[in-house]
């Protein structure tokens, strides 16, 4: 919620990321920490709380405050750094009630041996972390351990109990918070018996975190068989995970074969036990096995918190699982699938550089693979894309993503065994069947000399379909059908690329269906009843560009006409034609750069041109002649 930045030695500013309302007191906590290793005054010292009242209205976000210099040592002392810490007043003070609630919980949890206890802890994990964070802040404000013990007499017992609870200590974040609390309670120079005892107790707790209890079998084994603890535990954990993974796997095979209730009845408890372990790399195979088991066996349940934790860890790349496990995760949790799609969308829309290796990014997202294996995943993924496209229909990156996603999906599907494939109609339930085959066929699978015919065929089918829909009485149903067909055309954008390329070389008569396809692709709606105008613009742009690239003289009128069109509603269409002429026409490179330089003057248009070129470059990789032309064009745009 807070972000604070040290501006100079004596002032810092801070901003609030969350919208808040009303007035409240802010406490500014300043910690001076010594980082210098040779410094004798090795300490983290708190120099008191500066109370500062701020009247924050909605969205009021920035303030600057002055700090008083460090008493005695001087604020210029380089071996100290300042870490300002800000917080709401009421957030800081831990109520007795809270403390008692968590103390009761810690007692009730014990050493987390039963599945129901583990379930309860997993439900409270997030709020426990928040509480521990508050505790850390509160302990920072205490001048001594004695004071802390007076304010919270149970704090020691509370922390101790949590340290004995493997479910809590298995989680990295909670473990770190516990250590922080312990360190804050540790007195550098104990002043009285309480502080002495606290120190001894903290050291004992630290021992406990790494050692077995003396007298236990494992302790004896470690000691006499001569295993270093690190080696012993990581080896044991790996073996344990392998054993349980086999167990989970064997059981789903057995239960699938016999249709009996699966014999490993601890699946749910096991998934609960794995929640704090999702980021532990050794446990990943077991997590994968549990997810796959759920999909194959159906008689067991995985804990919802487990699914959430796995999703979060996977999305943040803290958990690496095999592809099958990830797909299994999406099969059992719709929300994790949606999150994965949104992450991909966000990645592509926020970073223009992604366009350079869009195909790799899309393949790595595993979404095409999952879609080819599970029709419902394909439908859900496309629903998310559909919604995105409705709100940002002009976005080139999004269209590029849809096209690449669909072609990756088709490639993976083609590699599947025929008996495993579902019919394509189930993947595209909303579009007319006669359009499916011509559009979903990859251009590479159609001989080059019939491309024009193929596209004319698509154009005719599409025109017929559109005119039928326009005559339909139920206009909403008609609109929906048109949208779905256009959506398919966007998914199969490779044919639009072919059409644009062919337009560079065809004659006036042949250009008709191609221009129609291009216009529909860029302007699917008859918004403002401008269809006729769009058609005229497209034809106009095409003929202007033809003469710019194919005739000997460069006419200034045509240049300015194209320039104007590039700022019109049809900008993307014109830009697409322009770049295709630039790359595929026989015009000399000097003519090409000349035209490009004169036409692409607006920075926004240039940016879009770069994005389009980028996708074209990806598509045309390997063609050395075109490659050189493309590179030159890109350089020109970059330097312009």
């Amino acid at each position: 919620m807070w972000a604070a930045v040290l501006k100079t030695a004596n002032t810092f500013s801070f901003s609030i990321n969350k919208e808040i309302e009303g007035s409240f007191t802010v406490e500014v906590l300043i910690c001076w920490t010594c980082h210098h290793s040779n410094c004798r005054n090795y300490k983290q010292k708190e120099l008191g709380i500066k109370k500062w009242k701020g009247n924050f209205q909605l969205k009021k976000q920035k303030e600057e405050i002055a700090l008083s210099p460090l008493p005695g040592e001087g604020s210029s002392d380089k071996c100290f750094s300042v870490s300002p810490c800000l917080r709401f007043k009421d957030m800081a003070s831990l109520s007795e009630l809270q403390m008692r609630f968590w103390m009761d919980k810690a007692v009730q949890w014990g050493q987390a041996t039963s599945p129901s206890t583990q379930q309860d802890i997993s439900e409270h994990m997030q709020s426990l972390e928040t509480f521990l964070q508050q505790l850390v802040h509160t302990l920072q404000t205490m001048s001594s351990t004695t004071e802390a013990m007076k304010s919270f007499p149970f704090v020691g017992q509370f922390l101790g109990r949590l340290c004995w609870n493997p479910y809590v200590t298995a989680d990295g974040a909670s473990r770190r918070l516990l250590l922080q609390c312990m360190w804050l309670l540790y007195s550098a120079e104990p002043q009285n018996v309480v502080e002495h005892r606290a120190n001894v107790w903290i050291r004992d707790l630290l021992c406990h975190l790494t050692s077995e209890d003396e007298g236990s079998m494992v302790h004896a084994l470690e000691k006499h068989a001569g295993f270093p603890p690190q080696q012993y535990y990581s080896g044991s954990l790996k073996k344990m995970v392998a054993l349980l993974t086999t167990e989970v796997n064997i059981n789903h095979i057995a239960s699938a074969a016999s249709l009996e209730r699966c014999r490993f009845d601890s699946i749910h408890s096991l998934s609960v036990a794995c929640i704090p372990l999702v980021t532990c790399p050794e446990v990943a195979p077991l997590i994968g096995a549990l997810l796959k088991h759920y999909n194959l066996c159906g008689c067991s349940h995985l804990s919802e918190d487990f699914i959430k934790a796995v999703t979060k860890a996977w999305l943040s790349k803290k958990l690496v699982m095999e592809d099958e496990a990830v797909i299994a995760l999406w099969c059992c949790s719709l929300s994790s699938l949606e999150q994965a799609v949104l992450l991909l969308l966000e990645h592509i829309l926020s970073d223009p550089k992604v366009m350079h290796n869009l195909e790799t990014v899309v393949t790595d997202s595993l979404l095409p693979k999952a879609s080819a294996l599970h029709c419902h995943i394909f439908l859900i993924v496309n629903d998310v894309f559909r919604n995105a496209l409705i709100s940002i229909e002009e976005n080139l990156a999004l269209r590029g993503l849809l096209q690449v996603f669909t072609s990756c999906f088709l490639q993976i599907r083609a590699a599947q065994r025929p008996q495993e494939r579902l019919p394509l109609r189930s993947f595209f339930p909303h579009v007319p069947h006669n359009l499916l085959t011509p559009l979903l066929t990859a251009p590479a699978d159609v001989p080059k000399h019939v491309w024009l015919e193929h596209l004319s065929w698509i154009g005719t089918l599409l025109e017929k379909f559109l005119s039928e829909r326009n005559q339909e009485e139920d206009s909403r149903r008609g609109h929906r059908a048109v949208f779905e067909t256009w959506f398919l055309l966007v998914q199969c954008g490779h044919w639009i690329d072919v059409a644009a390329k062919l337009l560079v070389s065809v004659g006036s008569e042949q250009s008709k269906p191609l221009l129609f396809l291009l216009t529909f692709y860029h302007h699917p709606t008859n918004r403002g009843h401008q269809n006729t105008q769009h058609n005229t613009v497209a034809r106009q742009a095409w003929s202007d560009l033809r003469s710019l690239f194919l005739t000997h003289t460069l006419s200034p009128e045509q240049l300015s006409a194209v320039n104007e069109l590039l700022c019109s509603l049809s900008a993307n269409l014109v830009l697409c034609l322009l770049l295709n002429f630039a790359i595929f026409s026989q015009a000399s490179t000097s003519r090409m750069t000349d035209v490009i330089q004169k036409v692409l003057t607006d920075a926004g248009v240039r940016r879009r041109a770069m994005c389009m070129l980028c996708t074209m470059h990806q598509r045309l990789k390997g063609d050395s002649a075109l490659d050189a032309r493309l590179t030159m064009l890109e350089d020109r745009l970059r330097t312009a």
Partner: protein
Amino acid sequence: MEAVLQNLESSVELLAVSQTDMVTEWDGETVDRAFQWAQYCEHLHTRFLTNPSVRAALESRLRETNQLLAHTFAGHRCVTLSDLAQCRHRLLTGLLKNPATPHPVIKSLLDKFGLAEDAESDQRVDLSDLSACRSACKLLGDFTVNRKSDSGLSAGTHVHGMMLLQRVQAILSQPGNLDYATKLLNCLLEDSREGPDSLGALIAAALLSTDTTSENTAAQDFLLDWLEGHDGLLHSVCQSLPPELCTRLSQQWTKFRLAYWDSLKRSASFLEYDVSNGLWTQPCDSTVSFLTLTERVKFLWSSGSPLKDETEEWLVALKQADGDFEVKGLNEMEFFFFPFLAFLVLETMETCILSTVFPHIALRVACRDENTLSSSAVEGLHSQLSSQTHHSSSK
């Protein structure tokens, strides 16, 4: 070699010093160096554990150093060869438990636990990973591996058994290490305060380990021999492990099967027959009840060939050895098959008390639970019954 021994001596001295007041002089850097030396000792242990001659040299130097240190520092804890494997850990706990350890040293230890979120690889060392792995083992170790054949042992016990087997196997892979391996097991038995049963479970898990190469099988044989050498332990293991597990072990290991039979026979010999109530009773709680005993034999019986046939032969042989009497006159007791009963009875009772009806009961139980008895056994019972009826009517 002398250099290595010298280093070992210095490291052990360092470890001893870390537990004294002298540690007040230490700082973060000293601690880091000490940990490096401790790691060196761990390396020595791994490198020479299976080499009898080097091991003897290391042990003898350890003995000398310990003696010297015991003179110098009161309350010095001796460092054994296997302690060397845990040197860093011993250093850590020693420093934490030493009240003289100065504040900066404690801070540097805490940093090794990963106190600071951004402390990267170097600082966090393995203590953070160690406590994470340890907690994870605790959470997963409690799950019982539920396959019918293995039931009763937790994943933890399985894995600890595998670790033990792995170590024994490593030691036995070099000649001249038999005594050392035996010593290891003896120490385990002495030191575990959880009682001999948990060691028994550990060995059972090791014997069941399916990851068996020929070397592992040799190590498993060794464990079984050791177990045989500890008669009391073996008997207690046979009593404490669940019947499914003992059956599985009997199937896999002939030696264990003989021991298990012997143990059953021994348990049976403690039972006494209460004539007035017609019940078998235990003279004291420490012995096995009649029900438990039948349960165990039932499991052996239901395991299928060849163990079932062998058990049957064994019981028949026992019966014959005891005079081949037919047992009669036990009211309303749910016995599953009579040769076993015969041996139980003959072990403990005067045959003259017995009279008429046992085969009826056996047959009734057999009909209720057909899985318990094979069809030939049921037929056998029928014929016995008819001959008996004939016998009593002719009387």
